[in-house]
């Protein structure tokens, strides 16, 4: 009897052990570090670090640049997130339609940005966004729109990065939506058509409700992913101009690795961790409520 109880633990032991060594230990160490002022001075001797309890967190609350970074990140998540989801849903539905030809080509074309390295993409997009010689401004000039300094103007830098991120990421979620669409049984549409439902009714009453679990998954993944917004501003703008594209993770990185203020950087990391956790839980609750009703 006893051995029977023990066996499952034995099997999950390797996974648990790896989690313990590579996740729980570093995370608790980081938490301890977030309670100290560990910095470049402390690298050579721990005597040069102080235990300062929640001071890092208090300092963060009073740090206008942190709030700016938080605001920027929320801006990116709230604008970029829905845009990405809508875009991927729209393209998935289009690709799933029986009328469209060259499906495979489009699927590949839309998925291509996902597998391309962001560094390469960023170089190309820097050219596209070039205020004088960029293609985007060239096309805008036909519409009578004056040249926009996409990456140099504090107002436009974030929208520029959002456009890039949406283009880069929607292909992945499109694939997931496509898979979701294919699980919707045809008879539902058939029945709807017999009842005289049009394209719009079919979409709102069958496709979208049936896709709810997929949408839920995609939304969570997008939010978690987008809160960790880093590579785009790191490569394209370094957080500038005027910190208008500084994200939380980039701010964390700057403190941690540029100035080696590990204590402060850890506290930023924990705040981000709590935000993402909170949002994921909130979403879970909302979903449960919806399922019950």
């Amino acid at each position: 009897m006893k051995t029977k109880l023990f066996t499952p633990y034995f099997f999950i032991a390797p996974a648990l052990l790896t989690l313990l060594i590579f996740f729980f230990l570093p995370v608790s160490e980081a938490f301890l570090m977030s309670l100290t002022d560990f910095d470049i001075y402390s690298l050579s001797s721990l005597k040069r670090a102080r235990f300062i309890f929640l001071n890092n967190y208090l300092q963060l609350i009073n740090d206008p640049i942190f709030w700016k970074a938080l605001f920027n990140t929320c801006y990116f998540v709230l604008v970029g997130g829905p845009l990405t989801i809508l875009m991927s849903l729209f393209t998935a539905i289009a690709l799933n339609s029986k009328l469209l030809r060259f499906k495979k080509f489009f699927r590949l074309a839309f998925f291509m940005p996902v597998v391309t390295s962001l560094v390469a993409v960023a170089v190309v997009w820097r050219y596209l966004y070039h205020p004088r010689f960029g293609v985007i401004n060239y096309f805008l000039s036909f519409l009578g729109i004056d040249s926009i300094d996409w990456l140099g103007d504090p107002k436009w830098a974030m929208p520029a990065l959002i456009i890039l991120a949406v283009w880069k990421n929607f292909g992945y979620h499109m694939m997931i939506f496509l898979a979701g669409l294919q699980t919707i049984p045809d008879y539902l549409y058939e029945a709807a058509r017999i009842d005289g439902a049009g394209w719009w009714r079919q979409l709102t009453n069958i496709t979208i409700p049936q896709l709810a679990p997929t949408t839920f998954f995609v939304t969570i993944m997008t939010i978690i992913g987008y809160f960790q917004f880093f590579a785009e501003p790191y490569i394209m703008t370094q957080g500038g101009p005027l910190n208008s594209t500084l994200s939380i993770v980039l701010y964390l990185y700057q403190h941690g690795f540029r100035w080696w203020r590990m204590g402060y950087a850890s506290s930023i990391a924990f705040i981000l961790f709590f935000i993402v956790c909170f949002l994921a839980m909130l979403q879970m609750l909302v979903r449960k409520k919806l399922e019950q009703s």
């Binding site: 690298l43 070039h130 040249s147 690795f257």
Partner: protein, 430 residues
Amino acid sequence: MNKFELKNFWFYHSVIFGLLILSCQTHQQLQIEIEFWTMGAEGQHIEKLLPEFKKSHPQIDVKVQSIPWSAAHEKLLTAFAGQSTPDVCQLGNTWIPEFQVVDALLPLDTLINKSSVISSNKYFKGIWDTNIIGEKTYGVPWYVDTRVLFYRTDILDLAGFSQPPTTWDEWFEISKKIRLLSTAEQPKYGVFFSTIHDDWAVPVILIRQNNGILLKDNNCYAAFDHPATIEALEYYLSFFSKDLAVKKMTEVSNLYQAFADGVFSMLITGPWNVNEFKKRVPHINGKWSTAVLPYKKNYTSTAGGSSLIIFNNSKQPEAAWKLIEFLSKDSTQMKFFQLTRDLPAVKAAWELAKINNDTLMTAFYQQLENVEPTPKIAEWEQVAVKIQEHLERAIYKELPIETIVQRLNQDIDKILEKRRWLLSKDLISN
């Protein structure tokens, strides 16, 4: 029989094994390997100089690793944290205080005193000074750079000036005249102050030319409310408020092209741009020149460049020092200049390579005699970024100078809090 053979077997094998160990040891004693990290383009060029070093020091193998500038600072600190630093390393000379404070660097004074190649009087004074912290010397200058004034001779002529500005007032006056040359399709500004990566350089230079101070009380507190500092900042900002300096980056998406188009006629930048301008916009060759910075109470500029340092935990400091001596010889310095166009730190190499024959370079030599290091504290980079940040905001939002100065002091005092605590507890010495 069997037993005897077995004995023999063990005997011979132990002899052979012993010999092997011995030979390994002697080999090790003869051959020393040192690791040398360089940054950016220097890495590729240094390989061409090493065969000569190998000839005079056959027992030293130098392993060169080249790291890109953009990742260098992080990589070095990470290497230090992980105790995998190289023996010799190129270090931007503004980074020396940071690495010194964590005890990463070997003091070189005794080695320098013994050396027949390296002595401080062969170098530019301000540049050598960047390597001294407290009483000790932690690096040997390898190549140098500083900021001078690049200006368009033809446009200054048009504005009625045959000479570059020599004083602050003249500088402002010329900028105003050049602004008047603007046409509807081509605005012409006097100056362009941004250097993209370190916008703090120009304001810091101006503050010190006015004998203003940045930090006070043993670099423990910010002193931007010093009257001379305020005056210098006001002068800097007046270029923007009077619309004489390029404010919108849109207008200079390409620095070289903008200079060639005459978008701005004066620029403060470093020696690397001499060749860039020659190469990228050859059609304006002869229409621009360089000059030492305009004068206020002095005309100091920044003391830039790279030093060679030895890490404290190097196991081969003597061999590492031999490499540094080799790289500091007049002839090596000359060859290094010819390969990289980096300005040599050793003055004699300037003559050997006839650098001053190029009229564009003489300004650099003159300016290098008048350079001053930035405050030697580990937090300098953070302080510099704060200066940049607040001035950028001041330019965009046109805040009153008192507000800017007050915010700067507040933010920088906060950064220096740790330093004050460490000094009060005697945990760092300077």
